[in-house]
Symmetry: C2
Subunit: 120 residues, 2 copies
Amino acid sequence: MTDSKNIADAYIALWNDADADSRRARLSAGWSADARYADPLMRGEGHDGIAAMIAGARAQFPGHGFALAGTPDSHGPFVRFSWTLAPASGAAVAAGTDVVRLDGAGRIAEVIGFLDGAPQ
Amino acid sequence: MTDSKNIADAYIALWNDADADSRRARLSAGWSADARYADPLMRGEGHDGIAAMIAGARAQFPGHGFALAGTPDSHGPFVRFSWTLAPASGAAVAAGTDVVRLDGAGRIAEVIGFLDGAPQ
Protein backbone atom coordinates (compact mmCIF):
# COMPACT_ATOMS: atom_id res chain seq x y z
CA MET A 1 0.00 0.00 0.00
CA THR A 2 2.94 2.32 0.64
CA ASP A 3 4.16 1.66 -2.88
CA SER A 4 0.81 2.56 -4.38
CA LYS A 5 0.71 5.75 -2.31
CA ASN A 6 4.19 6.65 -3.54
CA ILE A 7 3.19 6.04 -7.14
CA ALA A 8 0.06 8.17 -6.77
CA ASP A 9 1.94 10.97 -4.98
CA ALA A 10 4.64 11.04 -7.68
CA TYR A 11 1.96 11.09 -10.36
CA ILE A 12 0.14 14.04 -8.77
CA ALA A 13 3.46 15.86 -8.22
CA LEU A 14 4.27 15.48 -11.93
CA TRP A 15 1.01 17.11 -12.98
CA ASN A 16 1.45 19.90 -10.41
CA ASP A 17 5.07 20.64 -11.32
CA ALA A 18 5.19 24.14 -12.87
CA ASP A 19 8.62 23.59 -14.49
CA ALA A 20 8.73 21.84 -17.87
CA ASP A 21 12.31 20.56 -17.45
CA SER A 22 11.47 19.18 -14.04
CA ARG A 23 8.35 17.45 -15.40
CA ARG A 24 10.51 15.89 -18.13
CA ALA A 25 12.93 14.63 -15.46
CA ARG A 26 10.05 13.13 -13.48
CA LEU A 27 8.83 11.34 -16.60
CA SER A 28 12.30 9.98 -17.37
CA ALA A 29 12.70 8.71 -13.82
CA GLY A 30 9.27 7.25 -13.20
CA TRP A 31 7.69 6.35 -16.54
CA SER A 32 8.58 3.73 -19.17
CA ALA A 33 10.02 5.18 -22.39
CA ASP A 34 7.01 3.86 -24.33
CA ALA A 35 4.42 4.71 -21.66
CA ARG A 36 0.88 5.42 -22.84
CA TYR A 37 -1.78 7.69 -21.33
CA ALA A 38 -5.46 7.87 -22.30
CA ASP A 39 -8.45 9.49 -20.65
CA PRO A 40 -11.73 10.79 -22.11
CA LEU A 41 -10.19 14.17 -23.02
CA MET A 42 -6.61 13.50 -24.10
CA ARG A 43 -3.98 10.92 -24.85
CA GLY A 44 -0.23 10.79 -25.12
CA GLU A 45 2.54 8.30 -25.79
CA GLY A 46 6.20 8.27 -24.79
CA HIS A 47 7.95 10.85 -22.60
CA ASP A 48 7.72 13.57 -25.27
CA GLY A 49 4.07 12.94 -26.07
CA ILE A 50 3.00 12.79 -22.45
CA ALA A 51 5.09 15.86 -21.53
CA ALA A 52 3.38 17.84 -24.31
CA MET A 53 -0.04 16.58 -23.24
CA ILE A 54 0.51 17.63 -19.61
CA ALA A 55 1.81 21.05 -20.68
CA GLY A 56 -1.32 21.54 -22.76
CA ALA A 57 -3.65 20.46 -19.97
CA ARG A 58 -1.90 22.71 -17.43
CA ALA A 59 -2.28 25.67 -19.80
CA GLN A 60 -6.03 25.15 -19.79
CA PHE A 61 -6.22 25.39 -15.98
CA PRO A 62 -3.81 28.13 -14.84
CA GLY A 63 -3.57 28.43 -11.06
CA HIS A 64 -5.20 25.05 -10.52
CA GLY A 65 -3.69 22.04 -8.80
CA PHE A 66 -4.35 18.32 -8.53
CA ALA A 67 -4.81 16.58 -5.20
CA LEU A 68 -5.08 12.92 -4.30
CA ALA A 69 -8.59 11.91 -3.14
CA GLY A 70 -9.01 8.90 -0.88
CA THR A 71 -6.55 6.03 -0.56
CA PRO A 72 -4.87 4.37 -3.54
CA ASP A 73 -5.30 0.62 -3.87
CA SER A 74 -3.35 -1.88 -5.89
CA HIS A 75 -2.87 -5.50 -6.91
CA GLY A 76 -0.14 -7.04 -9.04
CA PRO A 77 1.21 -4.34 -11.39
CA PHE A 78 -1.94 -2.19 -11.09
CA VAL A 79 -2.55 0.91 -8.95
CA ARG A 80 -5.83 2.81 -8.75
CA PHE A 81 -6.30 6.24 -7.24
CA SER A 82 -8.71 9.18 -7.44
CA TRP A 83 -7.94 12.89 -7.72
CA THR A 84 -9.51 16.32 -7.82
CA LEU A 85 -8.53 19.45 -9.73
CA ALA A 86 -9.17 22.75 -7.98
CA PRO A 87 -8.05 26.40 -8.00
CA ALA A 88 -5.79 27.61 -5.17
CA SER A 89 -8.89 28.55 -3.20
CA GLY A 90 -12.24 27.20 -4.28
CA ALA A 91 -14.16 24.06 -5.07
CA ALA A 92 -12.89 21.31 -7.35
CA VAL A 93 -13.65 21.80 -11.04
CA ALA A 94 -12.99 18.18 -11.99
CA ALA A 95 -12.44 14.78 -10.42
CA GLY A 96 -11.34 11.45 -11.79
CA THR A 97 -9.96 7.99 -11.18
CA ASP A 98 -6.85 6.65 -12.87
CA VAL A 99 -5.73 3.06 -13.26
CA VAL A 100 -1.96 2.71 -13.67
CA ARG A 101 -0.04 -0.31 -14.94
CA LEU A 102 3.57 -0.52 -13.74
CA ASP A 103 6.37 -2.12 -15.74
CA GLY A 104 8.79 -4.68 -14.29
CA ALA A 105 10.98 -1.87 -12.92
CA GLY A 106 8.08 -0.20 -11.10
CA ARG A 107 7.76 2.63 -13.61
CA ILE A 108 4.42 3.75 -15.06
CA ALA A 109 3.82 1.91 -18.34
CA GLU A 110 0.19 2.85 -18.88
CA VAL A 111 -2.46 5.15 -17.45
CA ILE A 112 -6.17 4.61 -18.15
CA GLY A 113 -8.04 7.61 -16.77
CA PHE A 114 -11.74 8.25 -16.19
CA LEU A 115 -13.64 11.35 -15.11
CA ASP A 116 -15.82 11.03 -12.00
CA GLY A 117 -17.43 14.44 -12.31
CA ALA A 118 -17.89 16.75 -15.27
CA PRO A 119 -16.04 20.10 -15.17
CA GLN A 120 -18.31 22.84 -13.83
CA MET B 1 -22.61 4.76 -24.24
CA THR B 2 -24.99 2.09 -25.50
CA ASP B 3 -22.02 -0.02 -26.48
CA SER B 4 -20.46 0.27 -23.04
CA LYS B 5 -23.79 -0.70 -21.46
CA ASN B 6 -23.98 -3.75 -23.75
CA ILE B 7 -20.43 -4.76 -22.83
CA ALA B 8 -21.16 -4.39 -19.12
CA ASP B 9 -24.48 -6.27 -19.37
CA ALA B 10 -22.84 -9.15 -21.28
CA TYR B 11 -20.06 -9.25 -18.71
CA ILE B 12 -22.49 -9.46 -15.78
CA ALA B 13 -24.58 -12.07 -17.63
CA LEU B 14 -21.47 -14.23 -18.09
CA TRP B 15 -20.73 -14.23 -14.36
CA ASN B 16 -24.37 -14.94 -13.53
CA ASP B 17 -24.78 -17.77 -16.06
CA ALA B 18 -25.28 -21.03 -14.11
CA ASP B 19 -24.39 -23.27 -17.06
CA ALA B 20 -20.70 -23.98 -17.73
CA ASP B 21 -21.19 -24.70 -21.45
CA SER B 22 -23.14 -21.50 -21.88
CA ARG B 23 -20.45 -19.52 -20.05
CA ARG B 24 -17.85 -21.03 -22.39
CA ALA B 25 -19.96 -19.96 -25.40
CA ARG B 26 -20.24 -16.41 -24.01
CA LEU B 27 -16.46 -16.27 -23.61
CA SER B 28 -15.87 -17.53 -27.15
CA ALA B 29 -18.27 -14.97 -28.57
CA GLY B 30 -17.31 -11.92 -26.56
CA TRP B 31 -13.73 -12.32 -25.34
CA SER B 32 -10.39 -12.43 -27.19
CA ALA B 33 -8.76 -15.87 -27.26
CA ASP B 34 -5.83 -14.50 -25.23
CA ALA B 35 -7.92 -12.33 -22.91
CA ARG B 36 -6.54 -11.63 -19.45
CA TYR B 37 -8.38 -10.99 -16.18
CA ALA B 38 -6.87 -9.76 -12.91
CA ASP B 39 -8.42 -8.46 -9.70
CA PRO B 40 -7.16 -8.44 -6.11
CA LEU B 41 -8.45 -11.99 -5.47
CA MET B 42 -7.98 -13.94 -8.70
CA ARG B 43 -6.60 -13.94 -12.19
CA GLY B 44 -7.13 -15.91 -15.37
CA GLU B 45 -5.88 -16.01 -18.95
CA GLY B 46 -7.51 -17.30 -22.14
CA HIS B 47 -11.01 -18.73 -22.44
CA ASP B 48 -10.11 -21.89 -20.50
CA GLY B 49 -8.35 -20.04 -17.71
CA ILE B 50 -11.06 -17.44 -17.30
CA ALA B 51 -13.83 -20.07 -17.48
CA ALA B 52 -12.15 -22.03 -14.68
CA MET B 53 -11.67 -18.87 -12.63
CA ILE B 54 -15.34 -17.90 -12.92
CA ALA B 55 -16.47 -21.43 -12.04
CA GLY B 56 -14.30 -21.30 -8.93
CA ALA B 57 -15.59 -17.89 -7.88
CA ARG B 58 -19.21 -18.93 -8.42
CA ALA B 59 -18.68 -22.01 -6.25
CA GLN B 60 -17.61 -19.73 -3.40
CA PHE B 61 -20.87 -17.74 -3.53
CA PRO B 62 -23.74 -20.20 -4.21
CA GLY B 63 -27.08 -18.48 -4.67
CA HIS B 64 -25.48 -15.08 -5.20
CA GLY B 65 -25.71 -12.91 -8.28
CA PHE B 66 -23.91 -9.94 -9.76
CA ALA B 67 -25.72 -6.73 -10.70
CA LEU B 68 -24.53 -3.65 -12.55
CA ALA B 69 -24.26 -0.57 -10.31
CA GLY B 70 -24.54 2.89 -11.83
CA THR B 71 -23.88 3.74 -15.46
CA PRO B 72 -20.89 2.39 -17.42
CA ASP B 73 -18.62 4.95 -19.03
CA SER B 74 -16.08 4.57 -21.78
CA HIS B 75 -13.49 6.20 -24.02
CA GLY B 76 -11.52 4.71 -26.89
CA PRO B 77 -11.20 0.95 -26.29
CA PHE B 78 -11.87 1.25 -22.53
CA VAL B 79 -15.09 0.63 -20.60
CA ARG B 80 -15.54 1.13 -16.86
CA PHE B 81 -18.45 -0.13 -14.79
CA SER B 82 -19.24 -0.99 -11.18
CA TRP B 83 -21.06 -4.02 -9.78
CA THR B 84 -22.38 -5.58 -6.61
CA LEU B 85 -22.59 -9.22 -5.52
CA ALA B 86 -25.60 -10.16 -3.40
CA PRO B 87 -27.65 -13.19 -2.36
CA ALA B 88 -31.11 -13.64 -3.94
CA SER B 89 -32.56 -11.61 -1.07
CA GLY B 90 -30.29 -9.58 1.12
CA ALA B 91 -27.62 -6.93 1.12
CA ALA B 92 -24.58 -6.96 -1.15
CA VAL B 93 -21.60 -8.90 0.17
CA ALA B 94 -19.10 -7.31 -2.23
CA ALA B 95 -18.79 -4.46 -4.71
CA GLY B 96 -16.21 -3.53 -7.26
CA THR B 97 -15.26 -1.57 -10.34
CA ASP B 98 -13.84 -3.16 -13.48
CA VAL B 99 -11.93 -1.53 -16.30
CA VAL B 100 -12.21 -3.42 -19.58
CA ARG B 101 -10.04 -3.05 -22.65
CA LEU B 102 -11.70 -4.10 -25.93
CA ASP B 103 -9.82 -5.52 -28.90
CA GLY B 104 -10.25 -4.25 -32.46
CA ALA B 105 -13.29 -6.51 -32.91
CA GLY B 106 -15.03 -5.17 -29.81
CA ARG B 107 -14.30 -8.26 -27.72
CA ILE B 108 -12.94 -8.11 -24.19
CA ALA B 109 -9.14 -8.34 -24.31
CA GLU B 110 -8.38 -7.42 -20.70
CA VAL B 111 -10.17 -6.85 -17.41
CA ILE B 112 -8.53 -4.98 -14.53
CA GLY B 113 -10.80 -5.31 -11.51
CA PHE B 114 -10.82 -3.54 -8.15
CA LEU B 115 -12.89 -4.07 -5.02
CA ASP B 116 -14.85 -1.09 -3.71
CA GLY B 117 -15.97 -2.80 -0.53
CA ALA B 118 -14.53 -5.73 1.37
CA PRO B 119 -16.70 -8.90 1.56
CA GLN B 120 -18.64 -9.01 4.82
